[in-house]
Amino acid sequence: MNIHAIRAIYAFEMARTRRTLLQSIVSPVLSTSLYFVVFGAAIGSRIPEIGGISYGAFIVPGLVMLSLLTQSISNASFGIYFPKFSGTIYELLSAPVSYVEVVVSYVGAAATKSIILGLIILATAGLFVPLQIVHPFWMLLFLVLTAVTFSLLGFIIGIWADNFEKLQLVPLLIITPLTFLGGSFYSIDMLPPFWQTVTLFNPVVYLISGFRWSFYGIADVSVGLSLAMTTAFLAVSLAVVAWIFKTGYRLKN
C-alpha cells in the first residue's frame, strides 16, 4: 500500500477545496438557506404537517441530500477531470500507485468535502427550523454511504467526460431531476398511485427516505430497503470503477 501517495493526493484535493472555499461552501449554504426561506418560511407555513412534522423541518433531510449528491458528484468529477484536461494526469498514471489507492484518495477527498458541507447545511437548517435527530448513528451512516457512492459516481463521470459540457450534462440532466423527484420536498404517498410506482425506480428515493427516517422516524420505504439499495448503488459504482481501471478506459491508450 502506497500510503504516502494516498496522503499526497488527499492533501492535494483538500488544498484545492480550501483554495475554492467560497464556491465550495458558501454557495451551497446560501442556496440551501434560500430554499428554507422560500419553502420553509414563506410557502411552508401554508402547508399542513406531514406525518406530524412541520413542512419546514420535513424538507431538511431532503435538502441536505440534495446538496450532498450534487456536491459529491461535482467535487469528484472535477477532481479527476481537471488533471485529464490539463494533462497533469501523466504523473498519476506513471506513479507507483494502484487503482484502489487512486480511488480511495480522490473519492475519499470528495466525500470528506461533501460530508463537511452536509453537516454545515444541517447546522444552517437548525437556524431556521427546530431539528431533531432520532437516530444520529444511522444519520451519519446514510450521510457517509451516500457521499461515498455519489463521489464514486462523480469519479466515473469525470473519467467518462471528455469536455466540460459532458461534465455538467449528467448532473444537470439526470441527477437534479432524480433528486427533485426523489422526495426532497414531499412524501411519496402524496403522489398519485401510478407515479408512486414510477418513483420506486428512482434510486434517490431510497437515500432520502432512509435519511429522513434517521431524523424523524418516518419513511416512505422501509429502512432496510433504503440501506440495501444504497449499498447496492455503492457496489455498482465500485464495479464500474474497477472496470474502468482494468481496461484503462478514457485514461490510457
Binding site: 499526497a8 490539463s86 494533462g87 501523466y90 504523473e91 498514471l93 506513471s94 506513479a95 507507483p96 500507485v97
Partner: protein
C-alpha cells in the same frame, strides 16, 4: 555493462489503428545518457510513455531494473522520473507544494531537505512559495524536472527537455544532466536538436516510423558514418584538375582557387597524405588547408532519408 531498461519486441497499435511502435528492441545501460533521435511522429514519446506506464503496450515486454512494468509496476515505476514534453502543471499550486506532492505520489516519505536541494539545484528555491502560474516557461520546465527528481529516481526520462528553452538555460540543463549522471542516474532524452545529442549523449538511438533504425555509441557513429572534407586554398588558381589526380574525385571551386577532397573518416588517413604528395608532385602549392567533419545532424538526415 549492466542493462537497466530492457525493451523486447514492443509494439503499440492505437485504437485508431495507427501503429506507433513496431517490434522495438532496445537496451539502456545503467548510468548512461541515451539520446533517442527521430523526426516528429516517429514514436519517441509513445516509446517513453509505454515504458513509464502511461500507454499500454499492445505486444512485447519491458523490464525496468529487472521488474516487469505490468506485473511489477510498483517497483518499476518507483525507479523512474518522467519529465513530459508539454508544460503541464497545476497552475494554482505553489512550487513547493507540487514538488512535495510528486514525492509523496511516488511513495517516498516527506523529506524537506531533499526537496530544498532539488529546488536549489534547479535555481527555483527563491520561487518556492510562488504559484506555478506566475513562473516563466523556462522555470516551468525546470519545475517539471524538479518534480521528476523529487523521489530520487534512478532513471530520468526527458522528453524534449530543451524545446522552447533559450541558449543559456539549455546549457544549464546540460550541466544538470551531466551532474545527474555523475551521481549514477541513467538519463534517456528525446530530442530533435541533434546538437543536444551530440553534446550530451553516450549512445544514440535513431527511431523513424516506429522502428529503431540504429543504436550506436555516439563516437562510433560519428566515426562510422561521419564524412570528412579537406579543403585547400591554392596559391595560384587552377584551370582544371590535372588528370593525374582524377582518382581522388576532387572538386574545384569556380574561381579555381579552392580544392575539396571528401573522404570517409574511417578511410585511410594515408589517402590524404598521398593526395598531398601528389599535389606537390604536380607542382600545385597551397597556402592554407582545413578539414571539416559531418555532424550528427547530417548523419541523422541521411539515415532517415534512406529509411524512407
Amino acid at each position: 555493462m549492466q542493462t537497466i531498461i530492457s525493451v523486447s519486441n514492443l509494439s503499440k497499435t492505437y485504437a485508431s489503428g495507427f501503429q506507433a511502435l513496431k517490434g522495438i528492441n532496445l537496451d539502456i545501460r545503467h548510468g548512461e545518457i541515451f539520446a533517442l533521435l527521430g523526426p516528429n511522429g516517429a514514436g519517441k514519446t509513445t516509446l517513453i510513455s509505454t515504458i513509464c506506464g502511461i500507454v499500454n503496450p499492445t505486444e512485447g515486454q519491458i523490464l525496468v531494473g529487472g521488474h516487469d512494468i505490468v506485473r511489477d509496476y510498483r517497483a518499476a515505476r518507483s525507479m523512474i522520473g518522467l519529465v513530459p514534453q508539454e508544460l503541464t502543471t497545476d497552475a494554482f499550486e505553489t512550487v513547493w507544494a507540487t514538488v512535495s506532492f510528486s514525492r509523496g505520489l511516488f511513495g517516498k516519505p516527506p523529506n524537506p531537505d531533499h526537496i530544498e536541494k532539488v529546488l536549489r539545484d534547479l535555481s527555483l528555491w527563491n520561487k518556492k512559495d510562488n504559484k506555478i502560474i506566475t513562473l516563466s516557461g523556462g522555470m516551468k520546465r525546470r519545475l517539471l524536472i524538479a518534480k521528476a527528481l523529487s523521489h530520487e529516481p534512478q532513471i530520468l526520462f526527458l522528453d524534449e527537455p530543451t524545446a522552447g528553452v533559450d541558449v543559456n538555460l539549455r546549457r544549464e540543463m546540460w550541466e544538470l544532466v551531466r551532474a545527474l549522471r555523475a551521481t549514477g542516474v541513467t538519463v534517456i532524452l528525446t530530442t530533435h536538436y541533434i546538437e543536444e545529442a551530440e553534446e550530451m549523449a553516450d549512445r544514440v538511438g535513431v527511431i523513424s516510423k516506429g522502428e529503431i533504425m540504429l543504436v550506436e555509441d555516439k563516437a562510433e557513429l560519428m566515426r562510422k558514418l561521419g564524412r570528412k572534407q579537406l579543403t585547400l586554398q591554392l596559391e595560384h588558381a587552377l584551370a582544371h584538375i590535372p588528370a593525374g589526380l582524377a582518382a581522388y574525385h576532387l572538386d574545384l571551386s569556380a574561381d579555381g582557387c579552392e580544392l575539396t577532397y571528401t573522404y570517409d573518416s574511417q578511410g585511410e588517413r594515408a589517402s590524404m597524405v598521398a593526395l598531398l604528395g601528389d599535389l606537390d608532385d604536380a607542382g600545385i602549392a597551397f597556402k592554407d588547408l582545413h578539414t571539416t567533419q559531418s555532424s550528427l545532424e547530417d548523419i541523422f538526415v541521411s539515415l532517415v532519408r534512406d529509411g524512407q
